[in-house]
Symmetry: none
Subunit: 234 residues, 2 copies
Amino acid sequence: MYYILVVDDEPSVQRELRSLLENAGYRADIVEDFTCIPEYVQKVRPDLILLDVALPGADGITLCSKIRMMSDVPIIFITSQSSSSAELECMMTGGDDFIEKPYRPAVLLAHIAAVLRRVSGRSQNKVLVFHGIVLDLLDGTIQYEKKKVELSKNELHILSYFFTHKGEIVSREDLINALWDNESFVDDNTLSVNIRRIRRKLEDIGIKDLIQTKRGMGYRLKMREREDEAEGSL
Amino acid sequence: MYYILVVDDEPSVQRELRSLLENAGYRADIVEDFTCIPEYVQKVRPDLILLDVALPGADGITLCSKIRMMSDVPIIFITSQSSSSAELECMMTGGDDFIEKPYRPAVLLAHIAAVLRRVSGRSQNKVLVFHGIVLDLLDGTIQYEKKKVELSKNELHILSYFFTHKGEIVSREDLINALWDNESFVDDNTLSVNIRRIRRKLEDIGIKDLIQTKRGMGYRLKMREREDEAEGSL
DNA sequence: TGGATTTGTCAAAAGTTTTTCGAAACTTGT
DNA sequence: ACAAGTTTCGAAAAACTTTTGACAAATCCA
């Protein structure tokens, strides 16, 4: 799970970014004490920094160059006043990307994912997120609030099917077709057992009742009341 | 000297970009035959691609995804009509950056430099590091805390594949393709044996459980869990 | 050429995951 | 409350994948 540091002074932006990032499966942290950010960065070692260009007291560009003296962490600048000379300065100071407000949340996430992809040595990030539950397709794991379990091939396959059909009722038949592509005549019960094993693993990490059964129809990922449209990262 | 491929159909833009890039110390090359760009990229191996989103015949986004199927080269999109959904699509398809026309030349150069700075760390690096384990590609050795072993060709190849796909599940098939690029029909078990030999050597220098097997899916470099309380040493 | 190293193959063993089975638990309609 | 149909559950068998050791083939290097 990637750890992103947000450096911005406006409370509304802070909240907005935090929820956006966390819903996209990142761990987000807000810094407010701008004076000792470079030291802080060195201490907590984030995977990426979102840095507001205009900060009260210190400006983002000097901050960036100070951070650069001690760390190579990727930095994405965020700015409200779009000026190409500001952009130039940001990029020359060691910034990795530059995004203007207002931005579409999904676009910001896409840029973050692109930078992280380059830096991490991982290829494309393939993560599906649902209510803070992070299903990592490359990794074959599912994570919820710091707890993580390994998934087997079937389990991963089933869960990814659910995560790409959030909230829909998925019929047993659909699942069976998705898993056992050709007709290999699996007992209908086989699916039940696979579901049960998934549910057990989910409980191990504190998720219960995620997969609901709709008797006679199939299964469904539980929709929670708090329904914010979070765009997943790539 | 970095080698940049420009994919754009307008002669004026071509000239402009060529002179801009060459004056900045890059080697620039213009492609016009859009149909076989992926193959061309694979052949000439540029360090970066500037890709116009709107091309006659083929669009930049499909082109990008085709290139991505065979190469990890950084791609910067250039567009004349600024649309956030186009930007989103570009970034999700594997693009590294997105720049709108009209741009200030210096800004474009700054973005190019930023992307190259990130990538150069990877392609030019002759050593790959992971959790204090140092894989020396030139030397053909792997080292961990003063202890070092020599690796054979296969072993080096496999390990470097893992080290460039940290934490991902790498399928046996991928590994086999990476090692025996032409179809020489190696026994599937051959890979297992090579893995075992690597594991044995790793154990000799005190590394155990680095290569995990995900049954039915492949292998994976063990990712360290991020510790929550960052114990910084200032 | 000859010896050492690396690489590929085989078949048996070890280990996991997946499937199957029957019984229990649950829903729904009458 | 009962019957009929679904779904869950635990345990054991089955199926499958990977590991292992031994050996042969291929390659490398003096």
